[in-house]
């Protein structure tokens, strides 16, 4: 029983109904004055916050990763690990023992000293209490905490432990979380205590305004920007207008750039600069359910890939700013991959392939019948809450109908989408990949296809053992050269077997006031708002003093 | 004895949770063939309810109504209808007694249609003549006729099924004096010719004296213990049929 989970609709409704506070009040468009210290960075975001609990609330979890909580290591804009709480780290040959040396002068916001016991406590606590971190007990055999150092011993070789454990887990103070038995219930002020560069200042629930102050005693040196004000739950109309009028400094949404239709509204603004970067995630992917009858045949999948009008999708979805997708699935931002040919629309070849497979239109109703005479009617499962997906679905239905393939559309919200995927009912599955998703599993999106990784937002449709061996090989080596040719093999595999096709590669565009120097883009931390850019912007005294923000 | 009513009770419940308001209590009355019995009394005392009881339109709470010795409410629906056909009623408001959307002809034919008796145009013309009207009126709507004419057509309509008792519930109170005189004379005449007996309900004492052989006052007939001074609205307002 599928029903409609309109995350995308909520997105739209958000942009239409979210508690839109007009920064600095339209009625009082304050001119930008450049003043000295006490600069304020104003960030408009459509993300919605329900409770101030980093473990329970999706949005606050992101803000904690960004500002208030530190992790053992951080990934910089070229995805290379850089030290944060862990000054240095090392792993044994077969990546089963990992040791981290902690920074000596790290302090919690309430002044207490950060010790290795906190790190050990965090991993044990999360493993025990938080269902989202259920992988910790199965992966980590034992954690030894000596003053200034933490040693993890794993159950099996895991070369990407640095990324999964090092970056994902936000270190929690033991003296606070120790006595919270149910981490997901309720919200208290002390939950916001971390050891990151910013302190949680205050949150006005009705107006949806949250402020963070700079943490002067931060072990990595105080950040440049004094205060950061987040305007949550704002609809995109209001954000666009505020950007144009200069009442907010930049737009932030985790794992996605500024929506393309709204970019058109900003073209005329002279006070804005647009920072673009090739996107690590793919916003529209068409996955094939290899278990189903026709779908298991590569020729049929090839025919389907030839039927789609990629140029049309690029124009409709990305306003023409995207590029034709490669059959290697992984976008250009990932260096270690082999060059693969681009996917093009070729309806003639597509019809020829289908005719060769004896899938022709026998009763003349415009829909082809498959080998045993039943009309070819594929079930397309789509997420109804993802940005632009209803545009893509309407285009796909049209494209496939033009080559004689009938489509029954089923849109579903996240929970129903996952239920249907797991039941393997749908022939075609439309979804998106996030930058972090591409890093999952063995990387390069393999997390989405590996059939051993069931559940969650993955389609897990590849049962082929060669693919599984390839993933295990990647996981067990840390040597960059072997990794490069293994990933090359993976792109070949994608191009050859087409488990899923990217409907378009597109850039990620972040608008922000042009009085800022160009910030570095770190898509893992969500775009132009990241630790590096906050540091860089601090020096340029270009902010205006804390304008009275309504 | 043609029609007999012995100790009949009738009360009306008001709305959902109100108790019953008793209007008539142990009323007894007898009517012989070819006679006219008058029922007098002020408005709001239950005259109309008694009329409806006798005509078999509403069912008595207690007691029985006998026509030629048989209880009209006993037996299957078919038998009851046959007995009830003997007793018909003429109402106080002439224009309300006819379905406004029907022509007079349809209204006149209705009784025979219900009882599946064949009715030739000649019968109709003869009945209309009996009440002193031409057949040209039959093509018109009730709203196009006067009170007197409507009342006479109502009589003609009943005569087509030749009932043995007709209950007249203040037939002429809405009409003016001259028309009233005509109707009364017409009724007397019909009684002489066809021997139909009447129950004449009115609040005009002189008229009752002229018209009826014997008259009763509703006050003596019905002696309800909980005598509730009911206004006219109460009695007629909610007929819980």
């Amino acid at each position: 029983m599928a029903n409609i989970f309109f995350k995308k609709v909520r997105e739209i409704i958000l942009c239409f109904m979210a508690a839109g506070l007009l920064m600095a009040g339209c009625s009082e468009p304050s001119a930008r004055q450049i003043k000295g210290p006490g600069q304020t960075l104003r960030v408009g975001t459509p993300m919605k916050l329900k409770q101030l609990n980093p473990l329970a609330d999706y949005t606050y979890n992101i803000l904690a990763m960004l500002l208030t909580h530190d992790t053992l290591i951080r990934l910089d804009e070229n995805l290379r690990p850089i030290p944060q709480l862990a000054r240095s780290w090392s792993a044994n040959k077969d990546a089963t023992v990992w040791t981290f040396d902690l920074v000596p002068n790290a302090l919690w916001h309430d002044g207490k000293k950060v010790t290795s016991k906190d790190v050990k406590f965090t991993f044990d606590y999360l493993g025990k209490h938080d269902p989202a971190h259920a992988w910790i007990p199965s992966l980590i055999k034992e954690i030894k905490a000596t003053p200034g150092r933490v040693i993890f011993t794993l159950n099996h070789p895991y070369s990407r432990f640095l990324i999964n454990a090092g970056f994902i887990v936000r270190i929690l103070p033991q003296h606070i979380w120790g006595h919270i038995m149910t981490p997901r219930a309720g919200e208290t002020k002390e939950m916001t205590v971390g050891c990151g560069p910013y302190l949680f200042a205050q949150y006005d629930r009705t107006a949806g305004r949250m402020t963070f102050q700079r943490n002067p005693a931060y072990h990595g040196g105080a950040m440049g920007v004094e205060t950061i004000e987040f305007y949550l739950n704002r609809n995109l109309d209001i954000i666009t207008l505020s950007l144009k009028k200069g009442t907010i400094d930049l737009y932030y949404k985790y794992a996605s750039g500024f929506p393309f239709p709204y970019l058109r509204g900003l073209t005329g603004a002279k006070n804005l600069q647009f920072i673009t970067a090739p996107s690590m995630g793919i916003s529209a992917v068409l996955g094939f359910n290899m278990a189903k009858k026709n779908m298991s045949d590569i020729k049929f999948r090839r025919a389907l890939s030839l039927a789609i009008n990629y140029r049309g999708i690029n124009e409709s979805l990305f306003m023409g700013k995207g590029t034709l997708p490669g059959s290697g699935f992984v976008p250009g931002t990932f260096p270690q991959q082999s060059k693969q040919p681009f996917l093009k629309q070729d309806t003639v070849r597509c019809r020829k392939i289908l005719d060769d497979m004896n899938i022709t239109d026998k009763n003349g109703d415009g829909i082809r019948e498959d080998v045993d005479g039943r009309p070819l009617n594929l079930m397309l499962l789509a997420r109804c809450d993802l940005e632009g997906h209803d545009v893509v679905t309407r285009r796909l239905v049209n494209d496939f109908k033009s080559v004689g393939i009938g489509i029954t559309l089923k849109t579903a919200d996240l929970s129903t989408w996952i239920a249907i995927v797991r039941k393997k009912e749908a022939d075609l599955i439309l979804f998106r990949t996030t930058p972090w998703g591409m890093m999952m599993g063995a990387g390069h999106g393999s997390g989405y296809f590996d059939s051993r990784r069931e559940g969650g937002g993955v389609i897990a449709n590849v049962r082929d053992t060669t693919f599984h061996h390839l993933c295990d090989e990647i996981l067990s080596t840390t040597n960059p050269d072997t990794l490069k040719d293994l990933y090359g093999k993976m792109s070949d595999y994608y191009a050859r077997t087409l488990p899923a096709i990217a409907l378009g590669w597109h850039p990620v565009i972040y608008p922000c006031q042009n009085s800022y120097p160009v910030p570095p883009v770190n898509q893992i931390e969500g775009g132009i708002l990241n630790r590096a850019s906050l540091k860089k912007w601090g020096d340029a005294a270009i902010f205006q003093a804390g304008a009275s923000v309504k | 004895m043609l029609l007999e009513i012995n100790n009949v009770d009738k009360g009306y419940g008001h709305g959902r949770f109100h108790k019953k308001v008793c209007v008539l209590e142990n009323v007894s009355l007898t009517l012989d063939k070819g006679k006219t019995v008058g029922i007098m009394g002020d408005s709001g005392k239950g005259k109309t309810t008694l009329g409806l009881l006798m005509a078999g339109v509403i069912r008595p709470d207690k007691g029985r109504i006998l026509l030629n010795g048989q209880d009209i409410w006993a037996g299957s629906r078919k038998e009851r209808d046959k007995k009830k056909a003997q007793i018909q009623m003429v109402f106080q408001h002439p224009e309300a007694a006819f379905n406004p959307r029907w022509t007079m002809e349809q209204s006149v034919r209705e009784p025979c249609h219900i009882y599946k008796i064949s009715l030739s145009p000649q019968d109709i013309a003869d009945k209309m003549a009996r009440v002193g009207l031409g057949t040209k009126l039959l093509k018109r709507y009730p709203s196009q006729l006067s009170g007197g004419e409507l009342q006479r057509i109502a009589l003609a309509r009943l005569l087509t099924i030749s009932p043995s008792v007709i209950v007249l519930d203040e037939p002429t109170s809405m009409l003016d004096v001259i028309t009233q005189a005509k109707i009364i004379r017409l009724l007397m005449e019909i009684q002489e010719n066809t021997g139909i007996s009447f129950i004449f309900i009115t609040h005009d004492r002189e008229l009752a004296r002229v018209m009826c052989h014997e008259t009763h006052d509703i006050g003596d007939l019905s002696l309800p213990s909980s005598r509730v001074e009911i206004r006219i609205a109460a009695e007629e307002q909610t007929l819980d049929l």
Binding site: A134, G455 | G15
Partner: protein, 321 residues
């Protein structure tokens, strides 16, 4: 007072039936609510764990025991004001609803009052002189307003605000002082729409009352037309008008959902919509009950006022309409 108790138990019955329907419906919704509790990644992680672990989690969130038991516990707790615990918001449902209901009522109560006054008075005046100048101007105008769907009206205002800088494009004020500025547009839509409706009701009620005999009696006593209109005619037209206003309150509550969406006003409307989207069962059930309770309360209140205003009702001789 007999009449009052009859109405009262009718309303209680209605409330219970509403709750039962709502609870049943919401719980029949497919899709696993755990996804929203644990979030996308969390849910993915959880599904990789052994079934026993999943079972324990479902137990902690009371999603397993039978529907009926859940319903009975829900009702008993609801009567003590505890509408259950919303896992998304991490707070008791009643605490989430309380401020949101405040915002909705802040928008609703003034617009009900204004529209009742405006609709009533204008309707009476227009009804007083059918085909007078007042009738000719107001009736088409209000019919137009009444026909335009609520959200379209809201959209037009939003477009207006988009071009006029002074008006905020929806949303909530953080500073209490300029609350009026933010409230202006959503309330404008609600007031306009309900005044149109009430205007027509009162106009027709007055037109019907004018033909009554007591108006002739009043005129024969030499009273001025205005006096007759407001003392005699309106006093008679008021009781049915009040019933309509109460019934309309239910519609306005529903209508405010859309207006809140258009102007992103943090009221019950947006709350219910989010709750439905994110499958937050306790929140859906709780807010639905609060909305129905307020509507039923309004109707009960109107019944009381109707009884007070119309002596015929008060003396228990209620006509069988």
């Amino acid at each position: 007072m007999k009449h009052m108790t009859a109405a009262f138990c009718q309303y209680v019955l209605a409330l219970l039936a509403v709750l039962a329907l709502n609870f049943l419906l919401i719980h029949m919704m497919p899709g696993d609510p755990l996804v929203h509790i644990l979030g996308e990644e969390g849910y993915y992680q959880m599904t990789r764990q052994p079934p026993a672990y999943i079972e324990k989690i479902r137990e902690t969130y009371q999603l397993n025991d039978s529907l009926l038991k859940q319903f009975l516990t829900h009702i008993s707790r609801a009567l003590q004001g505890d509408l259950g615990w919303s896992h998304h918001h991490g707070r008791a449902v009643i605490k989430i609803i309380y401020p949101r209901m405040g915002w909705t009522l802040l928008l609703l109560i003034p617009s009900v009052i204004i529209s009742t006054m405006a609709g009533g008075i204008l309707g009476a005046l227009a009804g007083g002189s059918p085909r007078g100048w007042m009738d000719r101007i107001l009736t088409p105008f209000f019919l137009l307003i009444y026909s335009i769907p609520g959200y379209c009206l809201g959209l037009f205002l939003l477009i207006l605000a988009f071009h006029v800088d002074a008006l905020p494009m929806g949303g909530m004020p953080s500073v209490k002082t300029d609350m009026a500025l933010y409230m202006m547009m959503p309330m404008g839509v609600l007031v306009l729409h309900s005044t149109a409706y009430k205007y027509m009701i009162m106009k027709n009620a007055v037109i019907q009352e004018i033909h009554e005999a007591y108006v002739m009696t009043a005129r024969s006593k030499g009273l001025y037309d205005r006096d007759i209109l407001f003392t005699h005619v309106v006093k008679n037209a008021l009781p049915p008008f009040i019933t309509v206003v109460a019934m309309h309150f239910g519609f306005m509550m529903g209508g405010s959902l859309v207006v809140e969406m258009v102007f992103s006003w943090q009221g019950m409307g947006t709350l219910i919509y989010d709750a439905v989207i994110s499958r937050d069962y306790p929140l859906i059930s709780g807010s639905f009950m609060i909305i129905c309770a307020s509507v039923i309360l309004a109707n009960a209140l109107a019944d009381v006022i109707h009884g007070v205003l119309d002596p015929r009702i008060r003396s228990g001789n209620r006509s069988n309409e």
